[in-house]
């Protein structure tokens, strides 16, 4: 009795410890960004100061610089707009494609699916030069439409691959039943397959949106004007001037941009995990 009680106690301490360490590890970057946002420059640069706390009165100077002297809000807007459009395009292309490849294309579907996924592995650093020709030919350079065009080239393959795993886990009998019960194949797809795959589709939405917000190479090479920037490029370009880093404003910009995504992840965490582990058990 004593022994098991001891062991239980021990395992609870271990669990708590692991939880505590990972929480600190994950929350620390946010904390760091938060205090840097409100630190006075003198406080930031004085080496003797304890870097983990505010050593002087907090200041709003960095936020003022960020919002008044850069087009930060515009960048956020650009990014959100591109994100939404790319998500819509990705869903419109990837959901039917993944379904067709899993259910209709027979044995070739699987191979084709892998082939499509392989295109995702070609790095943007190789592709941005030829793609910039395409963008220029279409007259899209220096507008957000250039990235709206290019981003689906990597979000769609990945999403197809992810959704294929999802659709494969849906028993065929469900669609058969729906078809016997009175739906067409397309009806069964819309009313049965999509509602059941909602966690997979949510995963695709979050994943695509995150990719759009963090993408750098294409956004940097295709767009120059300040008003057309994506947030991930605008921040380092306009808040690092020469060799001067506006640390406070940089941190504030990153914090504000990352919070909604962190929040989204948390909201759908369970479904998100289900999306990535589909087929792992059973």
């Amino acid at each position: 009795m004593m022994k098991t009680g001891f062991r239980e106690h021990g395992s609870r301490i271990t669990k708590g410890l692991v939880l505590f360490i990972s929480t600190v590890l994950l929350a620390f970057p946010f904390y760091w960004m938060l205090i840097a946002t409100f630190k006075q420059n003198l406080d930031l640069y004085t080496v003797e100061n304890n870097p983990f706390i505010l050593n002087a009165k907090p200041t709003l100077d960095h936020l003022r610089l960020l919002f008044n002297e850069t087009r930060y809000v515009r960048w956020l807007g650009n990014t959100a707009l591109v994100g939404v459009i790319v998500v819509v395009i990705t869903l419109l292309l990837a959901i039917p494609a993944a379904y067709a490849l899993t259910r209709l294309a027979g044995r070739w579907g699987q191979r084709l699916g892998i082939g499509i996924f392989l295109t995702y592995l070609v790095p943007p650093t190789l592709l941005f030069i030829p793609l910039s020709r395409v963008v220029a030919l279409l007259g899209l350079q220096d507008t957000i439409w250039s990235v709206v065009l290019v981003y689906p080239s990597f979000t769609v393959p990945f999403s197809i691959w992810l959704l294929m795993a999802f659709f494969k886990s849906i028993p065929r009998e469900l669609e058969d039943a729906a078809m016997v019960d009175g739906l067409t194949r397309f009806g069964a797809f819309v009313k049965m397959v999509i509602p059941i795959s909602i966690s997979g589709i949510l995963t695709v939405v979050i994943f695509t949106f995150t990719l759009v917000t963090q993408e750098f190479v294409y956004a940097l090479t295709f767009i120059s004007p300040e008003s057309q920037q994506m947030v991930g490029v605008g921040i380092p370009i306009f808040l690092v001037r020469g060799d001067v880093y506006f640390w406070g404003s940089l941190m504030a910009a990153c914090l504000i941009a990352s919070l909604p995504i962190a929040f989204l992840y948390n909201l759908f965490l369970d479904r998100f995990i289900a999306g990535f582990t589909v087929g792992a058990i059973k």
Partner: protein, 345 residues
């Protein structure tokens, strides 16, 4: 209600390979409970799926209610199907599952509630209507699947191994329930199974299939007592029929007809039976061993006997089969042939 008929129905999945279903000609009777029985891979499910419209036939015709339905989609065939996994819609409540066919077939909305409640009460699941499928037991799921099938009052029921997901005890009660259910609604039903006991117990008639070919089509009694060939003879019955080769015929007899010679006072064929193993099953014995002496030396056979006499492994007994219970099959075609006189020693 309707009669289902297939004419030379064939399904070949891969060109050049043997068909999954070959030239099947069947006709149900009005309101009949027809069972497709066969081992896995015998084509019974493919046959059912073709009747449902989920699989396109390679050749042949399917008729439901005297109308060729080959070109009709599943939803246009006025059928209902219960699947092996039940295929309940996981994201919908039991109520919505049952109402689903009504909604999909655009039945007037005012009628939904009444019809769902009728189907649910028929199967005793009225109290489960607000639950999700994952919150139901195996037996309850089956009932929901059945309720979903009857709610639109189909002309034909197709059931694909609906009991195979239940444990043995539940299977028996679910089977009885299905039988009662069929008697009550009287709709033509086609039932697919690999379980001969289910087939014998439930079927008005049985279609025995193997490798896509119909081996026997008859009542349970015909199929059991007068098997059309050696496949049917050995597939039905547990333990299966004993087969021994004698000249150009194969002679078969059921284990329950293989008895102590002294208990039989009719025309019979006697054998020396060396018992090697005795299984006591409560109500009966299963004896396995081999024949001794003569041309059948070493041939393994099984006997199934009621209690009353004790048998010792390692002992040789005088056993016999009444002549009227001997079945004769052609040795090359394995088809049933007329009884004939043979030399036995």
């Amino acid at each position: 209600m309707a009669v289902v008929e297939t004419r030379n129905l064939t399904k070949v999945f891969k060109q050049g390979e043997l068909g999954a279903v070959n030239n099947v000609n069947l006709k149900t009777r009005e309101g009949e409970f027809l069972v497709f029985l066969g081992p896995s891979g015998s084509g019974k499910t493919t046959l059912l799926r073709m009747i449902a419209g989920l699989e396109m036939p390679t050749a042949g015709e399917i008729l439901i209610g005297d109308q060729v339905v080959n070109h009709l989609a599943p939803r246009e065939r006025r059928i209902a199907m219960v699947f092996q996994s039940y295929a309940l819609y996981p994201h919908l409540s039991v109520y919505k599952n049952i109402a689903f066919p009504l909604k999909a077939q655009k039945v007037k909305k005012e009628l939904h509630k009444e019809k769902v409640e009728w189907a649910a009460s028929l199967l005793g699941i009225s109290s489960l209507l607000h639950r999700k499928p994952r919150e139901l037991s195996g037996g309850e799921r089956q009932r929901v699947a059945l309720a979903r099938a009857i709610v639109r009052e189909p002309s034909v029921f197709l059931l694909d191994e609906p009991l195979s997901n239940l444990d043995a005890k539940l299977r028996l009660s679910a089977r009885e329930e299905l039988e009662r259910f069929h008697r009550r609604i009287g709709t033509t039903t086609i039932y697919v199974t690999h379980d001969q006991v289910e087939a014998m117990a439930m079927g008005d008639r049985i279609v025995v299939l193997n490798k896509g070919v119909v081996h026997h089509f008859g009542t349970p009694k015909e199929v059991y007592d007068e098997p059309a060939d050696t496949f049917v003879a050995t597939f039905l019955g547990s333990p299966p029929m004993n087969l021994i080769e004698n000249g150009d015929v194969i002679v078969g007899f059921r284990p329950e007809h293989f008895r102590l010679s002294e208990t039989l006072d009719e025309a019979k064929v006697t054998f020396k039976f060396h018992v090697e193993n005795v299984e006591y099953l409560g109500a009966e014995y299963i004896l396995s061993g081999s024949l001794l002496g003569g041309r059948f030396e070493g041939k393994e056979v099984i006997a199934r006997l009621l209690l009353g006499h004790a048998y010792e492994p390692g002992t040789t007994y005088e056993f016999a089969v009444p002549e009227r219970h001997l079945k004769f099959f052609d040795r090359s075609t394995e088809k049933r042939v007329e009884a004939r006189a043979l030399t036995w020693q």
